[in-house]
């Protein structure tokens, strides 16, 4: 995977990271909650769904349906899992950020 091929929106990246953190336990509401817990940001459930679907289409996530429970009006959950491609994308983004950040002149960081 090359760096310039990564196509990821800001909110999408956040959702991808959260899904990775939740590992095997990520579904709509959970991701929504976790975003608020981790960042304090109040997202909308339809926005989360859209982002998850987009990421799946790009091949960074894959999904499967869980079993039915008595909760949620008996509806099944759709769980998301980060694919290898998704992991690569996260790594690339992480690396790029770090490389860029490390080049900021110290004087700027000290005098903030």
């Amino acid at each position: 995977m090359e760096e310039e091929k990564v196509q990821l929106g800001e909110f999408e990246e956040l959702v991808l990271l959260i899904t990775a953190i939740l590992h095997e336990n990520a579904y709509g509401v959970k991701v929504l909650d976790e975003i608020e817990v981790q960042t304090g940001r109040k997202a909308n459930i339809s926005g989360v769904h859209t982002a998850l679907d987009r990421l799946e289409k790009k091949g960074y996530l894959e999904s499967y349906l869980g079993g039915a429970t008595a909760e949620r009006g008996g509806r099944r959950k759709r769980f998301f899992k980060v694919t290898n491609l998704g992991i690569q994308v996260l790594e690339i983004n992480h690396r790029v950020r770090n490389t860029l950040f490390s080049q900021i002149p110290d004087v700027l960081l000290q005098n903030k």
Binding site: V29, I45, H49, L65, R72
Partner: protein, 870 residues
């Protein structure tokens, strides 16, 4: 146990309705979870939030598409067809652009003509009960009728509900302060006018609008012109010296009317208008019949009507008959014919008070537009079948995978519909772009709203369906009939039916060439008419209108005008060649009375010199002989009609006791357009005091034209200060007789250029295809030693042959049609072989130039490139 609170049912139903089924469960689950969490704090807020969240899911991604709504429809399949079509179009970009542009040009022609046809066929349709309104004519042709006719028809026949006489519709001069303003389209009408032809009254009312002898009704724009920002009611308007009172203001007449008035004067109460002469025809008469009354029944009563009221007066002018019955028995037709108002604009152009329509031209241009569209469709069919080899594998594989013929045919139909749809959008754009030019040529005022309206959208849909089918059906049935194994092995009938394609190309050439020949014939005839031998000297003669305003000052004007060295002579007349000349009835005296209706020209003695006429027998008027005032000069044709061997000294009578002695014969000269036969004519002596005589002044110019015109202008302003001068050269006036032919020629030029462009587009892409298939052949020939010119010749031969075949088809057809068109002209060209040869050569050159670029390019290519690849 307390029941678990449930989320709002309506929101759930909404979600299930719009959301794709696959997503519904998961989304519902998440919404339930959020709801359950919040319902404990506040059930109401939770319900609201649930609904709000449902609405937030109303996103493109989650909304059902047509597949989900109509799971059993073939829509999914059409989506695929659509995709495949777009991919194919993108793959062959040049061909696609050519196809779309060709169709767009053809459709644009149709859109313009449709707009034109719609406009031309909607004349007078907005008049209430227009189908019961009839125009009374004499023998179905003569537009003018006697003054008392309407009055007595209304009185004698119960089925005539109402009637109105109209008059004038000419130009008047309005005096405001010391300003004289020429005002066209001034109608005179009876007070019943608005009963037959209602209009919206901005000021005043219909009942009192035209009751008095000098009432005038203005249209809105005229009220604005003469009384800006004033209340015009009760104001005085000086029309041709009459003080008229403005009684009402109405809306401007619509564009689609045969009575395009700008002002209406009441018909005066003088003798000529109230009791009038039964043989003097001065009024346009309209009758409104009872709904459903048969005009034929009414017409059958007219002969008695004429005998009762007009018999005596007709006999006065035809003294050779002793009774009216005898006059009728001698095949003298004189009856009133009713023409439906709705037929006037297109079918009786001589009866309209506005710009006449032309039914034949409407049909011709509709056909031409259809032909051009047909050309474009042929291009599409040709290219679609020619390039079929490119699609053979696709079709083969589809068939192997289980597709049937009809499904593949659908694919190709969808393609033609997609292309036609795009072409329509471009066509509408093109139409809006060329609309100003079309307006200029055809003298119309079409606007964007005439092209883009709800009615036309319906037409666009019809065009879309028709053209899509016309272009798509053959390729679809041809391509879908490929045998799958043969197609996959590459031995299918690729390239299509060569014969069919050749004949379609022949048809294209034929249509283009036909239009070229037609254009050529129109222009040759125009040139012929412009260079006619007139028998008079029209070039240096300047004709002034309104010369009757000079009466009383004529001598002064004359001597002042002649005072300039650039002016050689001046003559006052009642009419002039190429302008309107009235025909008057005369008859011989004594036994064997002969009645004739020659054109009647009043002129003073100098007209012989000014118009450049030629006396072939006798003499012309002598200004020094007082006795010449009761003499006439006749032309050759009148002499022939009267059968006089020795005309000098013979006498013609007007039927009112006045006799005129013939003193000379003038050589025939042209007075009307080339559509008319030469006419018998006589010239009557006139002087300043002769009535009906001095409407025009012909001025003969020698030397510097500009200085002469300048001088005339100054003299006019000096003698008639403030009164606008109006004049034209006689040869320009002759040219103006052919304005319609000139427009016709321009429209045909446009049509042939478009047809040729489309045919060239087709030829260009067809050549590309043929050369593509012959690539290896050309390369091999070249390796074997063929020269470039030999190769070029080999390819061009095919097209030259097609041009020649189409010429064989076209020449007889265009000869026939051209001859028919020319048959309405008395003075016409004969169709020589040049008229057909020149377009044929032109077509040949155009087609060779079109194919030469690509042929040359492939002929000079390195043969190795074509041969090495496998």
């Amino acid at each position: 146990m307390k029941a678990t609170p449930e989320p709002p049912k309506l929101a759930l139903r909404l979600l299930q309705w719009f959301c794709k089924p696959w997503y519904v469960e998961v989304i519902e689950g998440d919404l339930y979870e959020l709801f359950d969490r919040e319902v404990e704090h506040s059930p109401k807020a939770a319900r609201w939030k649930f609904t709000w969240n449902v609405i937030r899911f109303f996103r493109w991604r989650y909304i059902k598409d047509l597949d989900d709504f109509l799971p059993k429809s073939p829509f999914g399949m059409f989506k695929t067809y659509f995709k495949v079509s777009l991919r194919n179009m993108l793959k062959n970009k040049t061909q696609t652009i050519f196809n779309i542009m060709g169709l767009a040009i053809g459709i644009a022609c149709c859109v313009i003509i449709l707009t034109h046809v719609k406009h031309q066929t909607s004349f007078d349709k907005d008049i209430p009960q227009a189908e019961d309104i009839y125009r009374v004519t004499i023998n179905g042709r003569g537009p003018y009728t006697p003054a008392q006719m309407v009055k007595y028809m209304k009185a004698d026949y119960p089925e005539v509900l109402n009637g109105a006489r109209l008059g004038g519709m000419g130009e008047v001069v309005i005096k405001q302060g010391d300003q004289y303003i020429k005002q066209p389209n001034v109608l005179m009408a009876d007070s019943t006018f608005f009963d037959l032809f209602p209009n919206t009254f901005m000021r005043g009312e219909a009942k009192t609008a035209l009751n008095g002898p000098n009432d005038v009704v203005l249209t809105e724009s005229m009220a604005q012109k003469y009384f800006p920002n004033l209340d015009p009611i009760g104001e005085i308007l000086d029309i041709d010296g009459q003080k008229c009172v403005v009684k009402a203001v109405v809306m401007d007449a619509p564009r689609t009317t045969t009575i395009p008035y700008q002002m209406i004067q009441s018909i005066p109460w003088e003798k000529w208008a109230t009791t009038g002469n039964w043989t003097g025809n001065n009024f346009f008469s309209y009758l409104k019949l009872a709904p459903g009354a048969d005009p034929k029944v009414l017409e059958s009563k007219f002969p008695l009507f004429i005998e009762k009221y007009m018999g005596d007066e007709i006999l006065k002018y035809n003294p050779q008959y002793s009774s009216y019955r005898e006059f009728v028995q001698d095949n003298n037709q004189h009856t009133f014919v009713l023409i439906p108002m709705l037929d006037i604009h297109l079918h009786h152009p001589s009866l309209t008070l506005g710009n006449p329509g032309n039914y034949n031209n409407l049909i011709i241009f509709s056909l031409v537009a259809l032909f051009i569209l047909l050309l474009a469709c042929i291009n599409y069919v040709n290219m679609a079948t020619a390039k079929s080899s490119l699609r053979a594998k696709e079709i083969g594989i589809r068939k192997v995978l289980g597709s049937v013929k009809s499904l593949i045919a659908q694919q190709f139909l969808v393609e033609s519909f997609v292309i036609t749809g795009l072409a329509i959008f471009i066509a509408v754009g093109l139409t809006l772009l060329v609309l100003p030019y079309f307006n200029m040529i055809s003298q119309n005022q079409y606007e964007w709203a005439d092209i883009l309206n709800a009615r036309n959208v319906g037409w666009y849909l019809i065009i879309w369906l028709m053209v899509g089918l016309l272009a798509g059906v053959y390729p679809a049935s041809f391509l879908s009939s490929f045998k799958p194994i043969a197609a996959l092995k590459g031995e299918s009938r690729t390239g299509g039916n060569q014969k069919l394609r050749s004949s379609l190309v022949v048809l294209q050439f034929a249509i283009s060439m036909f239009l070229m020949v037609a254009t050529f014939i129109v222009y040759t005839q125009l040139r012929h008419m412009n260079s006619r031998q007139l028998g008079l000297d029209a070039e240096q003669v300047f004709v002034l209108s309104d010369a009757d305003k000079l009466v009383g000052k004529m001598d002064r004007f004359k001597s002042m005008v002649m005072g300039n060295s650039n002016i050689s002579n001046i003559s006052f007349t009642s009419g002039y060649p190429s302008g309107f000349l009235a025909d008057w009835g005369y008859h011989t005296n004594g036994e064997n009375v002969v009645s004739v209706d020659p054109l009647n020209v009043f002129a003073d003695p100098s007209v012989l010199d000014v118009w450049g006429l030629e006396i072939i027998e006798g003499r012309f008027f002598d200004p020094n002989m007082k006795s010449d005032s009761m003499t006439i000069v006749i032309n050759e044709q009148l002499q022939e009609e009267l059968g006089w061997k020795e005309p000098i000294g013979k006498v013609l009578s007007r039927g009112d006791g006045k006799d005129f002695r013939v003193i000379g014969v003038v050589k025939d000269f042209v007075t009307r357009s080339a559509k008319n036969h030469g006419s018998s004519l006589l010239i009557r002596w006139s002087s300043e005091s002769t009535p009906y005589a001095n409407y025009f002044a012909s001025i003969k110019i020698k030397g510097n034209i500009n200085e002469a015109l300048n001088h005339i202008d100054k003299t006019w302003a000096n003698v008639l200060p403030g009164y606008p001068m109006d004049g034209q050269f006689m040869d320009d006036s002759f040219q103006r007789l052919y304005d319609e032919e000139r427009r016709f020629g321009k429209m045909f030029t446009g049509a042939s250029v478009l047809a040729i462009i489309i045919a060239c587009i087709g030829l260009f892409s067809l050549t590309a295809f043929i050369l593509e298939r012959k690539r290896k052949e050309i390369a091999l020939r070249k390796v074997m030693g063929a020269r470039v010119d030999q190769l070029f010749f080999g390819v061009s031969r095919y097209f030259v042959k097609l041009v020649l075949i189409s010429a064989i088809v076209v020449i007889p057809a265009s000869f026939y049609v051209g001859d028919f068109w020319l048959s309405s002209y008395v003075d016409r060209i004969s169709l020589s072989s040049m008229i057909f040869l020149i377009p044929l050569l032109l077509m040949m050159i155009i087609s060779l130039v079109t194919i030469s670029y690509q042929t040359y390019r492939s002929a000079v290519k390195n043969p190795v490139d074509a041969l090495k690849e496998e």
